[in-house]
């Protein structure tokens, strides 16, 4: 059991840099909580003093819109961690988290966590290192967002296609930089789609094929030795497979 918790801790931003023995010390302080569908894990505005690691089951992370209606921000499932920053900053919960199914989570309370920090200065140092590298990472992303904003202002959307998809935006506080970029890209796509649609409204969908070019490209592709061999090979292969299927 402790081993499972250790593995899960390794996936959190807060603990990923810790040596195994320190992780085991942390894992031993975590306790299991069972929840039923509809149970509230935390409420927005509650004082945050523990982190939760989802072991089993799914949760929705919700907030309210101006009209007081429920708004699902995200979902979180096995392997994901919720509220890790609360261990350090004691800020109130920024959203409500509700179980979508029967669920099992591991809870690490702040006081248990502080006990470890008292006993292990090396753990504290590891945490500081983690924050420092995260800060560096965020700064890099912010710089990218600035570059892209300038491109959008200039009407250049080319970077959307050439930029890799972002890694999964975590449900926790962990990956704000990634969440920002994900939201940013969604915004750019929406803006571009609206722009494209406006353009389309002005022109009728006329799809045309340049027949001369089509013929030329076809001839270029099929006039090689490679193509002639390929055609033969494909024909042979098909005949072979048809024959072998006929035997069955």
């Amino acid at each position: 059991m402790t081993e499972d918790i250790t593995t899960q801790l390794k996936n959190t931003f807060l603990f990923k840099g810790l040596p195994d023995d320190a992780l085991t010390a942390v894992a031993q302080k975590a306790r299991i909580r069972q929840l039923a569908e509809g149970d509230v894990l935390m409420r927005r505005g509650d004082s945050g003093d523990s982190l939760f690691m989802i072991n089993d089951g799914w949760f929705k992370i919700v907030t309210e819109n101006a009209q007081g209606e429920e708004l699902i921000i995200n979902k979180a499932g096995p392997g994901e961690t919720i509220g890790e920053m609360a261990l350090l900053d004691e800020a109130p919960r920024s959203a409500t988290v509700v179980a979508l199914s029967d669920a099992k989570v591991l809870e690490l309370r702040k006081d248990a966590f502080y006990e470890i920090l008292d006993q292990r200065p090396d753990v504290a140092l590891s945490l500081i290192r983690g924050f420092s590298s995260r800060l560096r990472f965020s700064t890099t992303y912010i710089q990218k967002a600035i570059d892209w904003s300038q491109k959008i202002a200039a009407g250049d959307y080319g970077f959307i296609e050439s930029t890799q998809q972002f890694p999964k935006a975590a449900a926790s506080d962990d990956d704000k930089a990634t969440q920002l970029l994900s939201a940013f890209f969604q915004m750019v796509r929406s803006v571009k789609a609206r722009e494209d649609e406006l353009k389309h409204q002005l022109e009728k969908l006329t799809l045309e094929i340049d027949e001369a070019r089509r013929k030329q490209e076809f001839e270029d592709l099929t006039s090689t030795d490679f193509y002639a061999n390929l055609k033969e090979q494909a024909k042979r292969l098909r005949a072979q497979r048809a024959a072998s299927q006929g035997e069955e």
Binding site: G79, E161, L207, A234
Partner: protein, 261 residues
């Protein structure tokens, strides 16, 4: 003896949603109880592994290793059904017979294979061997856009060729050439699929226009979807959101593939 079908998924240009479509089509076939393999032959820009939750650390042998003679094709095949529980959509593949044959995502190995090339005949042998050894019903091939030699090979040996296009002139032009090639190579089943259709156009109308132009069936007109764009690489969209408009249209294409005798 293998009598599985090779299904190549192709688009003339990039950005049509080819990898995403391939992964979802293959997953739907596996869900329907078929034995399914997926080969990522887009060795220059591999991407389909992400949809199955794989990264460099989880990948073992790759298609590159096979093409360089460093391992057998069977060693490349990764059983997705055994390890598909890390997301809501993929979890539905647990226990299904579905294997992924990924391309290497290591920059050095990608540049090596682009620089040195490889024997397309070996690729073909790999396809035939894996069909037999895993007793597959379907081998889905995610091709590189355009019509280079390895892509021509994948098309040439296909039983079913799915061409994905967006409703725009550049895709139309490229698709026209691909259709001509497919006919010249006597591909038994040619199926078109439209992706990223803008909501302002009538899907039925798009289908009619394109079928008339290419004289080939359009098995689905899939809408442009921001939900999909936002979620795609995290999970198999049609498994996670089966009631979404995009997923329903995709299942129509999967049905068309499964209906081929």
């Amino acid at each position: 003896m293998a009598n599985g079908k090779i299904v190549s998924i192709h688009s003339f240009r990039g950005g049509t949603g080819k990898s995403n479509t391939t992964a979802n089509l293959a997953a739907q076939a596996a869900l329907a109880g078929k034995r399914v393999g997926i080969v990522d032959t887009d060795i220059q820009s591999p991407g389909i592994h992400v949809l199955f939750g794989l990264d460099e650390t989880k990948m073992g042998k790759t298609l590159n290793d096979f093409l360089h003679g460093k391992c057998t094709i069977r060693e490349v095949a990764l059983n997705i059904g055994e390890k598909a529980s890390d997301s809501e959509g993929r979890a539905k593949l647990a226990g299904k017979d579905i294997w992924l044959l990924p391309s290497s995502i290591r920059g050095r190995e990608i540049s090596q294979i682009i620089r040195e090339g490889y024997d397309v005949n070996r690729l073909n042998e790999g396809f035939q061997t894996i069909l037999k050894e895993l007793n597959l019903d379907y081998l889905f091939i995610d091709t590189h856009p355009g019509l280079n030699e390895e892509t021509l090979l994948s098309i040439a040996i296909s039983d079913i060729l799915i061409i994905i296009l967006r409703p725009d002139n550049q895709d139309f032009q490229g698709t026209a050439v691909t259709v001509d090639i497919a006919r010249s190579l006597d591909i038994p089943n040619l199926i078109l699929m439209v992706n990223k259709a803008l909501p302002k156009y009538d899907p039925a109308d798009i289908k009619k226009t394109i079928e008339a132009t290419f004289n080939a069936p359009v098995a689905g007109v899939l809408p442009l979807s921001f939900d999909l764009a936002d979620n795609a690489s995290k999970d198999l969209f049609s498994l996670r959101f089966p009631d979404h408009e995009w997923s329903k249209a995709l299942c129509g294409v999967a049905d068309a593939i499964l209906a081929v005798k």
